[in-house]
């Protein structure tokens, strides 16, 4: 394995489960320097402090990070799900040509479900427990289409059928509580896709599910994407899931984007020390047994009081490779990786490729 990891950026095999990338796909979502802050009694919580990424039609971006890294908060900003009275949002979110930072609730209502839809980790609490599943899907359809109840109900049954719910006629008349976890997540996906949105945001859609059901849902999302052509933002903490579904990957840490690239680039030739740490922490199904895992020392910083300079510095093993006290003094730009166009990272290291190849890659397998 090491020989494919080491060395110059040789052409990497793409994820075998994904079709090849179309570089000319239409730019659907462009997020630039997004910041989200929550004023609290204890001070300002800097949940998102500068995130930039783009998503193209029909492609999947995975946003990876630990709890508190801002991955959910930044995506909720796209859907307008933050209370405008209690949140400060700045930067720019261009979805399908429309600016969403500062947009009215009216505008968000027209976007939600029609242009962009979101599905959540816990389908138990995101479906109405006392409304029939079919009626909930039909209602979402009617919100954007002037059709009769009967037509909407028929569409709901069709959608349930599409996402692989058996006996969709009967199931549409049941309450969410009568569904199993996997079936409920399928119903959530049907609800998300009923208006054929251009963008589907999936926030940890399989975290609450068992592995065999997770595999079913990930397959389903891949199939539906091929059929509907939606772009997907997949929020997850599971790097192995990323490997299975993503075209591009954005790694977040303490509210900032720290690395961006295609999935094979980020997972096989990562450039940011935090990504190195994440990859080393996971025991794989093929690694040597009995060896120690290599955790990232320490804890993520408090969002109330971020460290100066690079937020990852207190846990970083490589900050002494940077001349002077730059890591503490200066926040690194989210800049292109030297010699690798299209890849971005936020680090002062001059030659991360060599450090990774010489020191990190050999320890990964």
């Amino acid at each position: 394995m090491t020989d494919t990891l080491a060395g110059a950026p040789a052409p990497l095999p793409g994820s075998t489960r994904r079709p090849p990338l179309d570089p000319n796909a239409e730019l659907l979502l462009e997020v630039k320097d997004l910041q989200v802050q929550f004023p609290t009694e204890d001070g300002m919580v800097n949940a998102v402090n500068g995130v930039s990424y783009e998503v193209r039609a029909g492609q999947t971006l995975a946003i990876v990070g630990e709890s508190g890294s801002g991955k959910s908060v930044s995506s909720m900003a796209i859907m307008g799900l933050h209370d405008p009275k209690r949140t400060r949002i700045s930067g720019s979110i261009l979805l399908d040509g429309q600016e969403l930072v500062g947009a009215s609730q009216e505008k968000f209502r027209s976007i939600r479900s029609a242009t962009a839809a979101m599905i959540f980790q816990d389908p138990q609490s995101s479906l109405h427990p006392l409304k029939k599943v079919g009626a909930q899907i039909a209602e979402a359809y009617q919100a954007h289409h002037k059709v009769s109840k009967a037509v909407a109900a028929k569409r709901a049954v069709e959608m349930l059928d599409r996402v692989g719910v058996p006996n969709p006629d009967k199931r549409a008349k049941q309450l969410p509580g009568e569904f199993s976890g996997g079936m409920r997540q399928r119903a959530m996906i049907a609800l998300g896709l009923v208006n054929d949105p251009k963008l589907l945001i999936a926030d940890e859609p399989t975290t609450a599910l068992d592995v065999t059901v997770q595999a079913q849902i990930l397959d389903l999302m891949n199939d539906l994407q091929a059929e509907f052509g939606s772009a997907i933002i997949m929020i997850t903490h599971d790097l192995a899931v990323v490997a299975e579904v993503a075209d591009h990957v954005l790694v977040m840490y303490a509210g900032r984007s720290v690395e961006f690239g295609t999935a094979p680039q980020v997972l096989a030739q990562p450039r940011h020390p935090y990504t190195w740490g994440l990859l080393s922490s996971v025991p794989s199904l093929t690694a040597d047994v009995g060896s120690e895992l290599k955790p990232i020392a320490g804890n993520p910083p408090s969002l109330l009081n971020l460290p100066s300079g690079c937020s990852f510095r207190p846990r970083c093993k490589y900050s002494d490779r940077v001349a002077g006290d730059r890591c503490a003094a200066e926040l690194p730009e989210f800049r292109e990786v030297p010699g690798e166009p299209g890849r971005l990272f936020r680090c002062h290291l001059e030659d991360p490729a060599t450090i990774f190849a010489d020191e990190v890659a050999p320890t990964l397998e």
Binding site: V282, A287, P301
Partner: protein, 375 residues
């Protein structure tokens, strides 16, 4: 968020571990395939049924949930047994039965040769010292109104292990052992991060110097980078203190990393049990094969050829009315008539007596997990 300096980075390896009862006995630790081992725990035909009421007719009917239905395994001193399976397979119930947090419906649990399955609470109490639990939820399993001193000190006091005036010193020693700052004895659980709380839970379990720890999903509530910290800590404790573990988890990578032997459970029964290599490299039960092939694999993007994919359809059947014969047959692609008529028993694989499979049509499949050349 508290003090960052105390977590993980603390070189806990340098801490003097002190004398531990299990460590003295652990000189006889025998790993993996060697069978000349000293048995610590022997579970035979363990059954637990929970009554559930069904209110469909005029009179409510009492039905039985077959949570654990005839589970047998043994655990040697210093050994780690992994229990894996999907939610509802009975792995947590098994862990709680073994430690007698639940009363078994039938079956025997021999701990150091003594059957504890039917012991009364009073007789059990002195034995509680020998077996401890670590829970999944580091938030729910610590009393938020108790200081760390009280949480970890309570078992010391109850079992009278340390004179009252020395409890604080012992608690500080334990905190150091698990890589926390000993000065934090007077803090409350909410002042610690998730990973640190899990360390407190581990320190509490260690306080009574147990011979057996049942760890129920100890890291699944933690972030990946923190998971590795806690797993390394548990690995160190196992090695240095010689504690035996029953390790319950759904993450197959972590189980492979930590466990010598693995039992795969499905709907209240063990369907396959064997050494790590048997289960991960030569799984024979269709369910084990499906479970392994469903786990997403990072190596896919590194250019590894993906192994064969098996996709299970449908959901777990209800444990109230489990299928006849083999319980997996409703989702199994190999199922034949015999599977519905006759329940397969755990049978040793050819030439490997310690690798047992409960299937009418076992078959070795080794290309499920992506093969990576180690060189």
């Amino acid at each position: 968020m508290t003090d960052n300096t105390t977590d993980a980075a603390t070189p806990a390896d340098e801490v003097n571990l002190g004398k531990h009862r299990a460590a003295e006995e652990a000189e006889t630790i025998v790993h993996e395939t060697s069978r000349e081992r000293e048995t610590l725990l022997k579970v035979t035909d363990l059954v637990k049924h929970f009554p559930v009421k069904e209110y469909s007719g005029l009179f409510p009917k009492t039905l039985q949930t077959h949570a654990v239905d005839g589970v047998s395994f043994d655990l040697a001193k210093g050994e780690t047994l992994g229990l894996v399976g999907e939610s509802g397979c009975g792995k947590t119930t098994t862990g709680r039965l073994v430690t007698r947090l639940l009363d078994p419906t039938s079956g025997s649990i021999e701990f150091e040769g003594r059957d504890i399955a039917q012991l009364k609470e009073k007789e059990l109490r002195p034995m509680r010292r020998d077996m401890q639990l670590i829970f999944q939820d580091p938030y729910g399993s610590l009393n938020p109104r108790f200081t760390v001193l009280k949480i970890i000190g309570a078992p010391l006091e109850i079992h009278g292990l340390v004179p009252k005036n020395k409890i604080k010193a012992r608690v500080q020693e334990l905190l150091e052992l698990v890589g926390l700052n000993p000065e934090h004895v007077n803090r409350y659980p909410n002042e610690f991060s998730g990973g640190q709380r899990q360390r407190i839970g581990i320190a509490r379990a260690l306080a009574v110097e147990p011979k057996l720890i049942v760890a129920d999903e100890p890291v699944s509530a933690l972030d990946v980078s923190i998971q590795a910290q806690v797993m390394n800590l548990m690995g160190k404790l196992r090695k240095e203190l010689g504690i035996s573990f029953v390790f319950i988890a759904h993450d197959l990578g972590i189980v492979r990393h930590f466990c010598d032997r693995i039992a795969v459970m499905y709907l209240g029964k063990i369907v396959e049990m064997g050494d790590r290599e048997d289960i991960y490299e030569k799984p024979q039960h269709p369910y084990t094969q499906a479970l392994l092939s469903a786990a997403p694999d990072l190596n896919v993007v590194r250019g590894a050829e993906p192994g064969e994919r098996i996709r299970l359809v449908g959901d777990l059947p209800s444990p109230i009315n489990p299928p006849s014969g083999c319980r997996f047959r409703t989702r199994c692609w190999k199922a034949q008539e015999i599977c519905a008529a006759e329940e397969p028993l755990l049978t040793p694989a050819e030439g490997k007596p310690e690798h047992t499979i409960a299937c009418h049509f076992p078959e070795v499949k080794s290309d499920l997990v992506v093969e990576v050349d180690a060189s």
